[in-house]
């Protein structure tokens, strides 16, 4: 067996599979059709703006990989323009007007997602002066962006939490996260007033931390990172929260095969050909999308998966096979064993997204390319463009241009890597 879940406790795997079964039934009933449309559109240029939570290209990379792998026929361009330490007034990269002009408007985005607040509160108990500065600064950002780019779709994000779940409260009276929640209330009201999309990146991570803390304190702390900056598992929760606000569909693909009748009963987001059913059942399947590149082998990520509905909300790649004769089957894809399933499990439907498959490896490869592209882009921006803003060495322009070309190479490669590929599936009786 080559389950991606091998390092999680078995109960975790079973829970995933069991939940997947439930969703399989729901989705087979047509929930994919009932979902609203994903907010990102073909050709969108998406910019993330923020502080040190957004700067490390973690939740943003997850979001980018999701979009690229779930909608491989569309083209998106993502850019992370966040700068560690920033506030609504700007920061080390310049005043807010310099920042927005150089790092946002210059790229003529169609979508901007903003998360600020953790530095604006200065880690102090609620102070009306700081709060008012945050509010007016935030309003200035929204006005500047929407005035400059009419038609721009702005998402405002309630700031991610300061961890007071696995760590003691910073101070009495609600702690620092209480202050951030209050800032988030303003962000929400502003977003609603201005007709923007509002995403909550605070409450979902807090509730994951609460659930995780009850199970494993040390791992829960890893999810929370250093308390201000979540670890990679925490960033997965942040990505899911933003994707949820963008109406990201859960479904990767859904296939229902009637083995007794040797027929494809139903497919969503997938194409089936060459179906054969004898003792073994075989078919060629081309999914229109890839599963989410969740590294279930990372124990902190596995705990997040247990403590949240990330898989159910974002990562359903369903296979249901009815009319099977034998009690147990080994599923292989492209000749590689994936998992042994009971007839009952297959009859109800299993979620392939949680297993190590050629599709999940393809998604991991896309995600690696997402990281690489963002590294090059970040290097161009931070090591050359902004670092040498007031200098004009002879080869600056050539270096910037070459890095643009290199980034374009990586964007093309990432897009190509996400394109659907046919895979041969086989269910062999055990």
């Amino acid at each position: 067996m080559r389950a991606r879940t091998k390092s999680i406790q078995l109960s975790g795997t079973v829970a995933c599979v069991a939940r997947a079964v439930f969703y399989a039934m729901l989705c087979m009933a047509g929930c994919a059709h009932a979902q609203s449309v994903f907010d990102l559109r073909d050709g969108d240029r998406v910019i993330f703006y923020g502080d040190s939570i957004t700067e490390p290209r973690m939740y943003t990379n997850f979001v980018e990989t999701y979009a690229v792998t779930r909608f491989p026929a569309l083209r998106f361009e993502f850019r992370d323009s966040a700068w560690g330490g920033d506030r609504v007034t700007g920061g080390r990269g310049g005043s807010i007007d310099v920042r927005l002009q150089r790092d946002v408007l210059a790229y003529r985005p169609s979508v901007v997602a903003i998360m600020l607040g953790i530095n604006d509160g200065w880690g102090l108990p609620y102070d009306p002066k700081l709060y008012n500065r945050f509010c007016s600064g935030y309003e200035h950002i929204i006005k500047l962006l929407t005035d400059a780019l009419p038609g721009l779709r702005v998402t405002v994000m309630r700031p991610s939490p300061y961890d007071e779940v696995t760590r003691p409260q910073a101070f009495a009276g609600g702690g620092y996260n209480g202050v951030l929640v209050r800032y988030g209330e303003f962000v929400k009201r502003l977003g609603e007033r201005e007709g923007l999309t509002v995403a909550d990146l605070n409450a979902p991570l807090v509730s994951v931390l609460v659930a995780a803390e009850a199970l494993d304190h040390a791992l829960a702390r890893r999810i929370a990172g250093d308390g201000t900056h979540p670890g990679i598992a925490g960033h997965l929760v942040l990505a899911a929260a933003l994707l949820r606000a963008w109406h990201a569909p859960a479904l990767v693909s859904s296939v229902e095969i009637d083995a007794a009748g040797t027929r494809v009963a139903r497919t969503t987001n997938a194409n089936i050909s060459a179906l054969t059913a004898d003792q073994s059942i075989g078919w060629t399947e081309t999914d229109d999308a890839l599963p989410f590149p969740i590294d279930f082998g990372d124990p902190a990520i596995a705990l997040v998966v247990r403590c949240s509905d990330i898989v159910d909300a974002l990562d359903l790649q369903l296979l249901k096979v009815t009319g099977l004769k034998f009690p147990r089957y080994m599923l292989s894809i492209d000749g590689q064993p994936v998992e042994i399933f009971d007839r009952g499990q297959l009859d109800e439907g299993v979620n392939l997204a949680v297993f190590d498959t050629p599709m999940s490896r393809q998604a991991a490869n896309v995600h690696a390319l997402t990281s690489k592209r963002n590294e090059v882009q970040f290097g161009r921006w931070r090591q050359v463009e902004s670092a040498l803003q007031s200098d004009s060495p002879a080869h600056k322009k050539a270096a910037l241009d070459a890095l643009d070309e290199l980034e374009r190479d990586l964007l093309d490669r990432q897009h190509a890597a996400a394109l659907p590929r046919p895979h041969h599936f086989e269910l062999k009786p055990q």
């Binding site: 590294e375 090059v376 090591q383 670092a387 060495p393 080869h395 600056k396 270096a399 190479d409 490669r413």
Partner: protein, 436 residues
């Protein structure tokens, strides 16, 4: 190797003089061993977080003690050519780290540059922030020896400086590691490094002891500010990095002298200079002259209160940053010093007789040194981008524009190196002492 020029000048008239006589400072500079770096040296800094980043990995402010050392070398010896490369990787151990195994790291990030000088500081991560443990120590010891033998066999001519690792702060904060704290472990590693380096005839720099002493002195004066010297106990702030740079530079016999001028009308000749040229001296009610120092002061940001505290608790300034002006025989009580028409300060006759250290003041020379420091960091930043975000990040991908991007970044780095050298070139300044 180049040494500060201590014998320049010629007599030019009764009231306009150009002299050059070695001062006491300059004599001391001559008797001490020469600066360890030589014209044409390629220096690679190798290590972990401490060498790679400042407190919190802010891309604009990393690689600090190596950048201070580089700036020192370039501004103190502006006619020598040095190439510095920072190949440290945060999180690294003697076995390597996120950038690859130690053999990959050394081959790609050290040996490939064909350095003539290599510095190695490791240990902070090898000790795992835990009490001393024999297995961990043995792993560190054999790993360190492996690094030295790899360098020796691949770069037989390279001069290696083995660095005793910088401290874990248990002075301003309570120890949080059992059995006597973590710095004790680092010092044990340091003792091993010392013994190994002595046996191999390497240069040894101790980046632990001085900073601990500074932390102790600083805590006695201002505990809150002292805590900001190594805010997270591991990664020093700019102030802490200045002390690390000082330790390494001292191990390299770095001269303290920037320049020295003494004007004394009661003696013959009445101008003494060290590492500088004085022209067009005019003595009337006011004194004026044109001074061209062969070096720049150290870019110490005295406006940073943490740096201010560290300076007052260390011998950084006497050891590395002496740009003195001494004037004897003045008649007025107080004089304003102007350089290039900017007011630098007002000094009493006694202060000027005793001598003032211009290196601590906001002078055009200091501004020039800060400009060099900024360019040094900009060049290092471009190098870092090329190395980490292109060469390493997409090492396994063959992409149509990869080589072009690598070449363009290398050319850009060369541009900046040229700018650094130009920016460090000595410039004449007009000095004016006006009675108040």
């Amino acid at each position: 190797m180049r040494r500060p020029n201590t014998t320049r000048g010629a007599f030019a008239g009764p009231r306009t003089a150009l002299f050059a006589i070695a001062l006491i400072l300059a004599i001391r500079a001559r008797t001490q061993a020469p600066f360890a770096l030589r014209d044409g040296d390629r220096i690679v800094f190798y290590g972990d977080d401490i060498t790679a980043v400042q407190f919190f990995d802010n891309p604009l402010e990393p690689r600090l003690y190596p950048s201070f050392v580089e700036t020192y070398a370039i501004t103190r010896f502006p006619h020598a050519h040095f190439d510095f490369v920072n190949s440290a990787w945060a999180g690294d151990r003697v076995s390597g780290g996120a950038g690859g195994t130690i053999d990959i790291r050394l081959q790609r990030d050290v040996i490939a540059y064909k350095p003539t000088v290599v510095t190695v500081m490791l240990g902070m991560n090898d000790g795992e922030m835990s009490p001393y443990h024999t297995d961990r120590f043995n792993k560190f010891a054999s790993g360190f020896e492996h690094i030295l033998s790899t360098l020796r066999s691949n770069l037989p001519e390279a001069r290696v400086t083995a660095i005793k690792p910088s401290p874990y702060d248990e002075v301003t904060q309570q120890p949080d590691v059992a059995d006597g704290g973590y710095n004790r472990v680092l010092m044990q590693y340091g003792t091993f490094i010392h013994q190994t380096a002595e046996r191999e005839g390497l240069t040894i720099a101790d980046l632990n002891t001085t900073l601990v002493a500074v932390l102790e002195k600083a805590t006695a004066i201002d505990p809150a500010t002292a805590r900001k010297i190594i805010p997270d106990r591991i990664h020093p702030s700019a102030a802490g990095h200045l002390i690390l740079a000082e330790d390494l530079l001292k191990a390299w016999n770095a001269p303290a002298l920037v320049s020295a001028v003494r004007i004394d009308e009661s003696r013959q000749p009445f101008i003494h200079t060290g590492n500088t040229t004085v022209r067009d001296l005019k003595i009337a009610l006011a004194l004026s002259w044109t001074q061209t120092d062969n070096a720049l002061p150290f870019p110490i940001d005295m406006a940073d209160p943490v740096v201010g505290l560290v300076v007052s608790c260390s011998d950084l300034v006497p050891a590395l940053d002496q740009q003195t002006l001494q004037v004897n025989g003045l008649v007025a009580d107080r004089y304003e010093l102007r350089i290039d028409n900017d007011t630098i300060g007002v000094f009493t006759r006694e202060q000027l007789r005793e001598g003032i250290n211009l290196a601590l003041l906001d002078t055009p020379m200091k501004k020039q040194a800060i400009r060099v420091f900024d360019l040094v960091r900009a060049r290092n930043n471009v190098h870092f981008g090329r190395w980490k975000r292109v060469q390493f990040a997409i090492a396994d991908d063959s992409l149509p524009h990869k080589q072009e991007a690598l070449d363009a970044l290398e050319a850009l780095e060369q541009d900046l190196l040229t700018e650094v050298r130009l920016a460090a070139e000595p410039k004449p300044h007009r000095f004016l002492l006006v009675p108040q």
